[in-house]
């Protein structure tokens, strides 16, 4: 659903077409790399909701509380690559803030590990 009325595909096009139509054929997010666990949180209100698609608005709604990229994809039931493109739109507009994993290429530091250890023991 692009929200633009350009229904150039039909059911025969199969399930793969729809996600790509949603992002108007784009397969590469334009902003920084988004990881599976990168946290996304919506700003209290979108800057210009009229110009957003249904999917963008769904993400804004979901991310009222912080969620990972993988969770957003799971809840929207669309492939990760599609969610990354949609998120990169929202990041560019300043409608969401993100937080990457502590240090992507390295393992987390000791204080963080201790906090995770205490947390897991406490569940």
């Amino acid at each position: 659903m692009t929200g633009r009325g350009d229904w150039w595909y039909d059911e025969a096009a199969g399930p793969v077409v729809r996600p790509y139509a949603m992002v108007r054929g784009r397969t590469r997010p334009v902003t920084a790399e988004l990881h599976l666990v990168t946290q996304v949180r919506a700003m209290p209100s979108a800057s210009d909701p009229e110009s957003l698609t249904v999917e963008h608005l769904e993400i804004m709604e979901l991310c009222r509380r912080p969620l990972s990229v993988a969770e957003v994809a799971a809840y929207l039931d669309v492939p990760l690559v599609v969610v990354k493109v949609l998120l990169s739109d929202l990041i560019q507009r300043g409608d969401v803030v993100i937080r990457d994993p502590a240090r992507v290429a390295e393992i987390p530091d000791r204080n963080l590990l201790q906090a995770v250890l205490d947390g897991v023991r406490g569940i």
Binding site: R41, A74, Y75, L80, R99, P101, L117, G119
Partner: protein, 197 residues
């Protein structure tokens, strides 16, 4: 679930730091069961669409034409605090999806390799993967009801594991048992950090 405060003092939105642990092992070793037993949410499922370019050419045997293929990921979540959230990712099938394993392992606290003693060899590729990349991992023997019970040392010997790699016995259906496995990998990752310091 821990409550999430909406703002830091000063009005800045609070966005937690994410960390992850990878749950690996051969098919049927209990990866999804383990995620389910400790996750605070029902395990979530997502898919990545792959084109041929994403997949090693040598591994494409049987995949004909320019089709896309999907790699499925199942994962769970444990909210540690408003500032930290832990994700548990079960690894997708071994072999064709190694590149996805690389993404999962990148920046992870470490990995748990689940082992079924009736099919030890099914977990060899997982062990090799983490050994080669020098990613902290522990081996957790999932004690299936109808499997012969082996001692930790027997399993260690059969898997030819370095003595620095912890081996634990567990029942991943049991939440406390799965928790102790998570504690095991976090402690192992911490002791490796200490050894490097």
């Amino acid at each position: 679930m821990a409550s999430v405060e909406s703002e830091r003092p000063g009005g800045e939105l609070l966005v937690p730091t994410p960390v992850k642990i990878v749950i690996a092992g051969g098919f049927g070793t209990g990866k999804t069961t383990m995620v389910k037993s400790v996750s605070e949410i029902a395990p979530l499922h997502t898919e990545e669409l792959l084109t041929e370019a994403s997949v090693g050419v040598d591994d494409l045997a049987g995949v004909e034409g320019k089709t896309t293929t999907t790699v499925a990921l199942d994962f769970g979540r444990i909210t540690i605090s408003p500032e930290i959230v832990l994700y548990l990712f079960g690894t997708p099938g071994q072999g064709r999806f190694w590149f996805m394993w690389d993404e999962l392992a990148q920046g992870a606290i470490g990995a748990v390799v689940l082992v079924d003693t009736r099919r030890l060899d099914s977990s060899f590729p997982s062990i090799d993967f983490f050994e080669r990349r020098d990613i902290p991992f522990i081996v957790a023997v999932n004690c299936f009801d109808d499997a012969h019970k082996y001692a930790v040392d027997e399993v260690r010997g059969a898997l030819d594991l370095d003595k620095s790699i912890p081996v634990m016995l567990c029942d991943v259906r049991d939440r406390e048992s799965s928790k102790s496995v998570l504690v095991g990998i976090i402690e192992h990752a911490m002791s490796r950090l200490d050894a490097m310091a």
